[in-house]
Assembly symmetry: C2
Homo-oligomer: 315 residues x 2
């Protein structure tokens, strides 16, 4: 068993994305269909779950059992056909913790029946939490993190997901606190925004006793989508963006027709959103050499990488 201190040193600072699949509609010899795991301080969130996701999970170092929430962007098979198999395997591995599936509401009408048909003896609960992908909605919220679903532009209703850490309390400036005689029992109140009144009645403002906390880190998953300026405001300044890059620029017409993006559109979006970094994904099988996609994107937005299976990117 790992000790608490090991957890502190590693997991508690983690914000990383592991790609399980980054191909488009049909699997290719190179890529699995869409799925990835977002690990935020040891809490694991899965985004999309195409066929073969559990196979990829097994090949990765991701701790299966720690995935408690799955977010599904839309109801195309390459984003959700892996759910049933994963639920089955979770059951076989003895899972008892509930599994939360956040997806367009409509999915439940079929998934509930599938679960009933295939699993009479599932020992954990599948908790379905439907949302409307046409609206911007907070789909997950805890003490330190918010996940917001927001509309993308695809052939069917489709959501992107913004993972954003909540800003933590400001850090106490220990030297200043000692100087003004702040008692230890009062630290929390001051870190959370309080001022301090010294024995002589002088009010020492919060800002003189603290250093501002780092802003919360953020990650935006934007797939599948055509160029979608409507989301820019929401994801402004995001630390990392994963964006649909099904096609190269020369296939822009095809991208338009299928409501996907080109490398150029993905990069342009990252630039307009003032993202810090960009991961390109959801590649069409037509490109034997995907470096064309990378070259086109980096010309516009240099901080770009190509997704690939088992790639892990940390923020």
């Amino acid at each position: 068993m790992r000790s608490f201190f090991v957890l502190l040193a590693t997991d508690m600072e983690k914000f990383q994305i592991t790609i399980l699949g980054c191909g488009s509609a049909t699997p290719s010899p190179k890529h699995f269909t869409s799925s990835q795991v977002v690990d935020i301080r040891g809490k694991l969130f899965m985004v999309d779950c195409g066929e073969g996701t559990q196979i990829q999970l097994r090949r990765s170092r991701v701790a299966f059992a720690r995935i408690n929430h799955i977010f599904i962007s839309h109801l195309h098979g390459d984003h959700c056909f892996g759910l049933l198999g994963m639920i089955s395997t979770f059951g076989l591995l003895g899972r008892t913790a509930p599994l939360f599936i956040h997806a367009p509401q409509q999915l439940w009408s079929i998934l509930e029946q599938e679960i009933e048909f295939y699993y009479h003896d599932l020992e954990f609960k599948v908790e379905f939490q439907g949302f409307d992908p046409a609206k911007t909605t907070v789909v997950y919220d805890d003490r330190s993190l918010t996940v917001t679903a927001f509309p993308l532009r695809h052939r069917v209703p489709c959501a992107g997901f913004l993972f954003r850490e909540k800003p933590t309390a400001d850090h106490l400036d220990r030297e200043a606190a000692d100087f003004y005689g702040v008692p230890q029992w009062d630290y929390t109140r001051i870190k959370e925004g309080g001022d301090f009144t010294a024995k002589d009645g002088t009010v020492i403002p919060h800002s003189s006793l603290t250093k501002p906390a780092e802003p919360g880190r953020s990650y935006a998953y934007c797939c599948d989508t055509a160029y979608n300026p409507s989301m820019i405001q929401l994801i402004k300044g995001v630390d990392l963006m994963y964006h649909d890059c099904t096609y190269a620029d020369e296939d822009a017409e095809r991208a338009k027709k299928h409501f996907h993006s080109t490398s150029v559109e993905a990069a342009r979006t990252a630039k307009e959103a003032e993202a810090k970094r960009l991961i390109l994904g959801h590649f069409s099988a037509r490109y034997n050499d995907e470096s064309i996609l990378l070259d086109e994107a980096t010309a516009i937005f240099p901080e770009t990488v190509l997704a690939k299976e088992n790639l892990t990117v940390s923020i």
Copy 2:
């Protein structure tokens, strides 16, 4: 385009099995779940279709579009969760030919709904042909081949499949035919069993004018199953058998509990059935080194190989 003669020389004599997946219930880093393709003279039949089957198909040399019939042994996810994705991909690849799915009747109650939910615009028909896995039933029959489903012993109703070529007409003995003056227009009748009456009234029996045809080749798929002597009579003398070998002999208790077979039981079955060759499959993920399974089986039935992904065995 391949010419007719190329087809003649290769496909028209083919009887081969390609393994797409041979792991058991949960996928492992080593194995995909159950699926294989039986190619008989260029007609392609899929047997079982676990999650990831289409991924494996893409990596194999099997011609996707020529699969017209899929046989499903039972309704556990590791044998049928790949169907939906494959149907989807067939659609995306422009299939128009109907796809026949032969499976336990019950499957249709969920599959029909899934197809309706996910595909509004499928351009080919999925023709479902249900059967009762508790009975021995001919599930496919054409001019040259019969596929028979027969009961296995598993936790849920489960069928094995016997592929058997029909015996062809006897071969004409050209020398004898010339000697007795058989006219060319009468050849077919004689090959199919007729006698010949010479000009002087002498009856030359069929057996004097022909050489017997080779007996039809045969393949039995027996997975998932506990030791199942009830099928022996049906598959007697089979050229090739694929048999459940989930466990090693030391795990016989576990095999019994889960209605699977050990290596020893698989080999014993092949011996009792007087099979010519045996492929072991459906391996539990617990064996890092599967050679223990092979060693145990070959001690009883030497003509044994371990299944592995992309293995092709010809009869």
